[in-house]
């Protein structure tokens, strides 16, 4: 069970080593300030710290894989554009965790577990009495 998210942590220049999620969030934040589709170099210039161009490219492709950014060909390079905001990115990432981890139950205590068809009928019968209950 390879963990793509931890494999190959990115070296980040400028003091503190930044986590990958944070880097993604920063790149997205920069991209969202752009007036339109911009190049990776444009993003690289505006990022805090000194990140290698390849690192920025890696993060951009990762964001693209998560559908948080889109790219289009512009001459010989790509122009990038944000398609999600910070919360949207978090949602896309959380969705991957939830879809990918069968064993998440002990960490992420879910509000409800899923129902079988019989459960649903039992539930409808139970709640049938409360739905038309004019409380408060």
């Amino acid at each position: 069970m390879g963990n793509r998210e931890t494999a190959g942590s990115l070296p980040a220049g400028g003091g503190r080593r930044r986590g990958q999620g944070e880097l993604e969030a920063q790149v997205l934040a920069v991209l969202r300030t752009a007036p339109g589709p911009v190049t990776a170099a444009w993003v690289q210039e505006r990022l805090p710290g000194e990140l290698a161009y390849t690192t920025v490219m890696t993060i951009l492709s990762r964001l693209q894989a998560k559908n948080a950014v889109a790219r289009q060909r512009e001459g010989r390079s790509f122009a990038w554009e944000a398609t999600a905001d910070q919360a949207g990115l978090a949602a896309l990432r959380m969705r991957r965790v939830l879809d990918g981890e069968r064993d998440r139950e002990a960490v992420l205590t879910s509000f409800v577990t899923s129902l079988s068809p019989e459960d649903e009928q039992v539930l409808r019968d139970l709640l049938g009495h409360t739905d038309d209950d004019p409380e408060e």
Binding site: N3, E5, T6, G19, Q20, G21, E22, E24, A25, Q26, L28, A29, Q86, A87, G88, L89, A90, A91, R93, M94, R95, R96, V97, L98, D99, E101, R102, D103, R104, E105, A106, V107, L108, T109, S110, F111, V112, T113, S114, L115, S116, E118, D119, E120, V122, L123, R124, L126, L127, H129, T130, D131, D133, E135, E136
Partner: protein, 312 residues
């Protein structure tokens, strides 16, 4: 010592009736704590017992790093059928260790991935994520630090009315405040240490949900709203792209709703001995005590035997 050496390995069989009785008759708070505690203790005893048997089993293998005298006849007399059992204990113990490490590692991984997913968001106690799929989770914080956060999708919020949302948040907050993930992890690890303890894992999971339901119902002051929130959330979550736990009999959600529509469970922690709940408690206590005592007995006896056999 005789066959009593093996008692801690078999006593976890009592987990099933204990779990059933506790689940049905105890206050969810008591039940969660009791079952998680019983599970952890029985798992420890069972593992200790395996380790002791393994020591005797290993000492007779050629080329082992243990003192040769440890496989003397006096030592081996202490464990019946030591030839077979001793050798069988080695892979069993390795399997337990591997399973425990694997479980702990997976927990850590899910937690880190979930934390990383939220990086870049303001550190508020509630993270609302724009997603049409309805979900709500409590993500525990690191020990000592923040209390964790509630992760909820806009899809879930949109399907609940304002009172039901309060119920949902109160429920998840209850999970975080009482640090239920620790009980769940203990029960999971116990189930890995001894398969007989598996019924405790599902029972602890169910009781922790009930506990949070009761806390939340008390906080919002309306059991029906709480019940409706649970029921509605479960019904809209159907068809969400998350795996369904294969359910037999009635699943946990209808039971939770039914319990919420019923009266508040009595908060007495130690019911009288001649009720079903009392039987559950006393069986649990007796089983665990016997398990612990026989493990301690085996450990001490074997330690003495080994010491007597070791020339110092």
């Amino acid at each position: 010592m005789g066959v009593f050496v093996f008692l801690p390995l078999v006593l976890p069989l009592t987990a099933w009736p204990i779990a059933r009785l506790a689940e049905q008759h105890l206050h969810p708070r008591t039940a969660t704590r009791l079952l998680a505690g019983v599970g952890a203790l029985m798992a420890l005893c069972s593992t200790l017992c395996l380790a002791l048997i393994m020591v005797v089993g290993t000492a007779q293998l050629p080329g082992n790093p243990l003192p040769d005298t440890w496989s003397d006849p006096e030592v081996r007399e202490a464990v019946p059928y030591d030839e077979v059992v001793g050798k069988a204990a080695i892979p069993a113990l390795v399997a337990v260790a591997v399973a425990a490490v694997h479980t702990a590692w997976r927990q850590r991984r899910v937690r880190r991935r979930a934390e990383r997913a939220l990086e870049g968001l303001p550190p508020s106690p509630v993270a609302v994520l724009p997603d049409d799929a309805p979900y709500a989770y409590a993500l525990p914080g690191r020990s000592g630090a923040a209390r964790g956060r509630i992760v909820v999708s806009t899809g879930m919020l949109a399907r609940l009315d304002s009172r039901e949302r309060r119920a949902l948040f109160a429920h998840e907050r209850a999970h975080l405040t009482a640090r239920h993930h620790r009980h769940l992890l203990a029960a999971r690890l116990a189930a890995r240490a001894n398969p007989f303890l598996r019924p405790l894992q599902t029972a602890v999971a169910y009781c922790a949900e009930r506990w949070a339901d009761e806390e939340a119902a008390g906080e919002i002051g309306n059991r029906r709203v709480m019940a409706r929130a649970v029921g509605k959330a479960a019904m809209v979550s159907r068809g969400a792209p998350f795996p369904v736990q294969a359910g037999f009999a009635t699943g946990p959600v209808p039971r939770r709703v039914a319990a919420l529509l019923g009266p508040v469970p009595p908060a007495r922690t130690w019911p009288p001995a001649f009720t079903a709940a009392g039987v559950a408690l006393w069986t649990a206590a007796a089983g665990t005590a016997v398990s612990a005592l026989s493990s301690a007995n085996s450990a001490v006896a074997l330690f003495l035997v080994l010491r007597a056999a070791t020339p110092l």
